[in-house]
């Protein structure tokens, strides 16, 4: 395990921000921390970086105790903070020099790493430009560049796509995958369920400072997948058709409403073909079919009773 967190507690006066959290993160993983704003994700990250003192528990990173070997551990971590943390009055190149030197890079090694990083984040032609003139997406990319320059084993990305356009978001998500392929373990926090679902191999859902659920995407979805739900829009629907569908094996429910059928079947019942046959035999024209799959949003909703954006 590259990160092991045991029974971690962080309190702010009377509020408990992290409530007895246990996490184990495997080397090579893209580990997603999913939760609404204020769930405790950033506080958890801050404790892992010694930015916030813990009240109880233990954190081990790279198998070493964080508080006794802080400096050594920090050398191998790259942090992409939630707020863009670069100097507007230093050029792109100077920002990279500044942060590179903080991690002990110098001379030709520093220069080579800067060139590689500029290419990776796509800002080669902006190396002498000041970030104050950059778009939000460019700033975010430089924000990432400053974190990966020293080629850390563990990269922590705290909501790295907040407030940027879809194109820049896709670029960043792609870069996360590439960094992972190159060997870095990634911890990725977000309240955007789609991002976590797209890139993360393991996901932990956090709410009110507690771990609600943890596992792979499939494992999490299986937590709420007891049935399949199909909606079919027809040119003309009626109750007779609905009753006939109900007689199909493993169909539990069929509701008709405004020429739309909502059919609930047992999970993995594989009876969609038979349903379509019944509809066509009744000479009804199918206009749209939706097979509703369980989502992380649905998982969060089921487990907490509220949506991620509540």
């Amino acid at each position: 395990m590259i990160v092991e967190i045991n029974n971690l507690v962080k309190r702010y006066e009377n509020n408990i921000a992290v409530d007895h959290i246990n996490l184990s993160i495997k080397e090579g993983d893209i580990y997603g921390l999913l939760g609404p704003n204020g769930a405790g994700k950033t506080t958890l990250i801050n404790t892992m970086l010694c930015l916030s003192r813990i009240n109880e528990g233990q954190i081990k990173i790279f198998g070493k105790d964080l508080y006794s070997q802080e400096e050594e551990i920090k050398k191998e971590i790259g942090i992409v903070p939630q707020d863009v943390a670069i100097y507007d009055d230093l050029t792109t190149y100077e920002n990279l020099v500044f942060f590179g030197k903080l991690y002990g890079l110098k001379g030709n090694l520093l220069k080579n790493r800067i060139d590689e990083t500029l290419e990776f984040i796509g800002l080669q032609d902006k190396k002498k430009a000041y970030p104050k003139k950059f778009s939000g997406g460019m700033k975010r990319r430089l924000n990432i560049g400053c974190a990966i320059l020293h080629q850390p084993k563990l990269i922590i990305m705290d909501e790295p796509t907040v407030g940027i356009d879809p194109q820049s978001r896709n670029q960043i998500l792609e870069s996360v995958k590439i960094l992972n392929e190159k060997g870095s373990t990634i911890i990725y926090t977000s309240h955007y369920m789609e991002e976590i679902e797209e890139i993360c191999k393991t996901i932990t859902i956090i709410d009110h400072g507690r771990v609600i659920a943890s596992g792979t995407k499939e494992e999490l979805k299986n937590l709420i997948s007891f049935e399949d739900r199909i909606t079919i829009r027809l040119a003309k629907a009626n109750n007779n058709l609905c009753n006939e569908i109900k007689s199909i094996d493993q169909v539990k429910e069929c509701i008709v409403e405004d020429n739309r059928l909502t059919i609930v079947s047992s999970k993995n019942s594989k009876n969609l073909g038979r349903i379509i046959d019944v509809i066509t035999q009744q000479n009804s024209l199918i206009q749209e079919i939706n097979l509703e799959k369980p989502t992380l949003e649905g998982v969060f909703l089921t487990l907490t009773g509220r949506t991620l954006r509540d």
Partner: protein
């Protein structure tokens, strides 16, 4: 070394800030020029003239002749212009009309008073509201010196000595004093006060340097790197001090060579005072940063404090012209310590006083830094 990296980039960022450069260099250069020229008349030290004084002697005996003899001596005539009047009323009228600074009056019983040991007075009638205090003081000193010598002769006579002789000698060796560079002109004065002012404005470098780490996310990013907290703050502080010191020295060189401001003979002393004030000022900035709940409030505090400190210490106009009340407030301003350190060295040549003031400034700098560290620890606990 990580700390050198932080110092270098702190200086680079400070020097790139055009707004700050305008405030720290262009503004004082312009203000020195404007105030130095506009208020130059306040700094002209006029030649001391003879004090006009009325004199009426109504003594019917001979004892007062000695005083008349004293008044007509060459030494006294050099400083007093004695105008004899015929009546007390005429003399008082001259005083009231400010034609003389005082009336010296000897009454009819003067000799009799001396002879009978009943006491005798030489009266000096002045108008305290007429101004000219300096010239009144000269007249009083002249009369006092006669009375004291006369009393001494009388005392010697009473104890049987030969006190009758009155001989004029001088124990004063007459040397010409060259006042050039000994009294500050307006440019010299504002050169010093504006320098101290920008050194105090430099508190903003301390404030912003640390605030960036303290209130803004970039600080967390740096703290998340394998560098110790003390290295971060020391780097920021040294960067701020060096920037400020550099700007102060540019101002010193510019004003010396362009405006001809007198900075004394030893530039090292000036550099030492500037460095001390730079450390103190950055310390104030860091302390305010730690005291304030956020960066905006910290900024506002500094924006108000520095001009107030400058004003109280006489940075815009000498406090001597602002009355007694303001004169007392100057001690509340750290700028005053800076002014005294510079002026006592440049114009008084009192290097010991300057050294003591520099030690005091360092003491205050350590105090502010210490408080800032304490407050910082309290916040992060």
């Amino acid at each position: 070394m990580a700390i050198l990296n932080i110092i270098y980039f702190t200086i680079l960022r400070n020097l790139r800030d055009k707004k700050d450069l305008l405030l720290m260099l262009v503004m004082p250069i312009v203000v020195i020029y404007i105030l130095g020229n506009a208020l130059s008349s306040q700094f002209v030290f006029a030649e001391i003239k003879r004090s006009p004084v009325g004199f009426l002697n109504e003594d019917i005996g001979g004892a007062s002749a000695r005083f008349e003899d004293f008044l007509s001596s060459n030494e006294v005539e050099e400083i007093l212009e004695v105008i004899k009047v015929d009546s007390y009323e005429e003399g008082v009228s001259l005083v009231q009309n400010r034609e003389v600074v005082a009336l010296i009056y000897i009454n009819a019983e003067y000799t009799q008073g001396i002879q009978s040991n009943a006491g005798a007075n030489i009266e000096m009638i002045t108008d305290l509201h007429s101004g000219g205090g300096f010239y009144r003081m000269i007249v009083k000193n002249v009369v006092d010196s006669f009375v004291e010598s006369n009393n001494a002769i009388m005392a010697m006579t009473m104890i049987g000595g030969n006190g009758g002789e009155y001989r004029r000698t001088s124990a004063i060796k007459d040397n010409t004093i060259d006042l050039a560079d000994k009294i500050p002109g307006s440019m010299d004065y504002y050169g010093v006060t504006m320098l101290v002012m920008i050194l105090m404005y430099g508190a903003n470098y301390g404030l912003h340097g640390i605030a960036k780490e303290y209130f803004v996310g970039i600080g967390d990013r740096i703290k998340a790197s394998p560098i110790k907290n003390y290295q971060i703050y020391l780097g920021r502080t040294l960067g701020a001090v060096f920037t400020l010191f550099l700007q102060a020295m540019i101002l010193v060189f510019f004003t010396k060579h362009v405006y001809g401001v007198n900075w004394g003979d030893n530039l090292l002393v000036i550099m030492m005072i500037c460095l001390s004030l730079a450390v103190f000022s950055v310390g104030i900035g860091i302390m305010v940063c730690m005291l304030a709940p956020n960066r905006k409030v910290a900024n506002s505090i500094m924006t108000i404090l520095v001009p107030v400190f400058t004003f109280l210490a006489g940075g815009y106009a000498p406090i001597e012209y602002m009355g007694e009340l303001f004169n007392k407030f100057k001690y509340l301003s750290p700028n005053y310590i800076g002014h005294r350190a510079f002026f006592s060295y440049i114009y008084g040549g009192r290097i010991v006083e300057t050294q003591l003031l520099v030690i005091l400034i360092w003491g205050l700098a350590f105090l502010t830094m210490g408080l800032a560290i304490m407050l910082g620890r309290r916040e992060t606990a």
